[in-house]
Symmetry: C2
Subunit: 267 residues, 2 copies
Amino acid sequence: MTIDGKTRLIGVIGDPITGVRSPEWFNEMFERQGINAAVVPMAVKAQDLQPVFEGLKRIGNLDALIVTMPHKGRMSALLDELGPAAQALGSVNAVRRMPDGRWMGDMFDGRGCVEGLREKGHDVSGRSVFIRGIGAAGAAVAFAMAEAGTKTLVLDDLDSSRVDAVAERVQAAHPGTRVIVRPIQLQADYDFAVNCTPLGMKAGDPLPFDPEVLPESTVVVDIITKPEVTPLLERAQATGHRIHAGKHMHAAQAVEAAKFFGFDPAK
Amino acid sequence: MTIDGKTRLIGVIGDPITGVRSPEWFNEMFERQGINAAVVPMAVKAQDLQPVFEGLKRIGNLDALIVTMPHKGRMSALLDELGPAAQALGSVNAVRRMPDGRWMGDMFDGRGCVEGLREKGHDVSGRSVFIRGIGAAGAAVAFAMAEAGTKTLVLDDLDSSRVDAVAERVQAAHPGTRVIVRPIQLQADYDFAVNCTPLGMKAGDPLPFDPEVLPESTVVVDIITKPEVTPLLERAQATGHRIHAGKHMHAAQAVEAAKFFGFDPAK
């Protein structure tokens, strides 16, 4: 890729930023399609989001931002307009300048998880899904699962007030899905069991749950991308389960964000 | 070049921005030297400089800025520290974050002009120099010429108050140079006649001065880079003068700014 005076910019904002993969994914697409644009990383601390965004909005050739931790929630409050998922979740992972100059954001993390599963032959429609960890990512996954037509959604988190709040919003938006909070027992007949906690990113983390108690038909899903095969997924392989790694969600989420920015990644 | 989560950023801010050449120059150097950094263009309107800079300062992996029109003057007022040329001129073309987090700027346009001439075998020390157009660029060139030891410096601008002010500051800083404002006649025995007006950038511009009246020994210098051979330089060739194009100043100025940012362009 070559950057010159006519290059359009998209920033990725987060803290820490060094592990983000979207610059490589997007820039490879731009190069393949001959688009003069670049996605660049921007290390922004939580407390600096507002002044940074105020500045970035005034850069005429900066068209969009990819929003990562810890800004997904706070950024949603700084925008002029929110898409449906962002509205329900109160968080965004992609924002863009609209033709009239206003800024709009939406959240594609959850849809990325659903699309990533679909691409690997796993349709969640009509199925039962267990999700442990209902922070920003878990809430996005829960919302997208219900949106995709899951029959039963079981949400589990140590913080009972936040899981209750998310369950209520998902249930209200998608009455066709049965939303259950904190099951007494894990060994229900889930079709999918999803880890949305950060457990598995650091060496020595305990497992978010033990797949041994799950029926063999359950697909064990992790949304962590580093390591690619988390201890949970290793353990699930050992207990005879099919696994689905975080990289699929990440790739599918980037496709959704790219479409939102006006690109066609399939080209 | 490949941009990833570890890439360091340097912005080029200006309006218009599409014609800047520093991204290509710097990024070619970074690629050659295996440095994970990128210079990216940023279109920033005059009235937006302060909020944009407030935001950019808070981006942890943005280490420096290249400052072009119309921000060179205003930016100098937003910095914590100024180098000697910036202090004398009240304008900057390069700013960087220092190890203690403060921001420092300096002006390398003028030094670029002197160095560009030197590289082509033209030493201005002890010589007489005529400069037409004493805006930010002309003032920078005047200051650097005096710093390099010109014997006589003749400054000419339609705006008599601004040329008087610059002449006074250059004279005070460099008493060894004789600084003269607005000559009655152009046909003095200048060794160098320099155009620092924007005349020649647009088709149909009048010449900033007619080289025909200059002795044949005078080197005619333009600081405009587009077109590479301006109507002034074309005319000077026709009248038998040696010419020196703006690209030399631009290249030398980039070298000076790169050194200020901590790189070694000679590597």
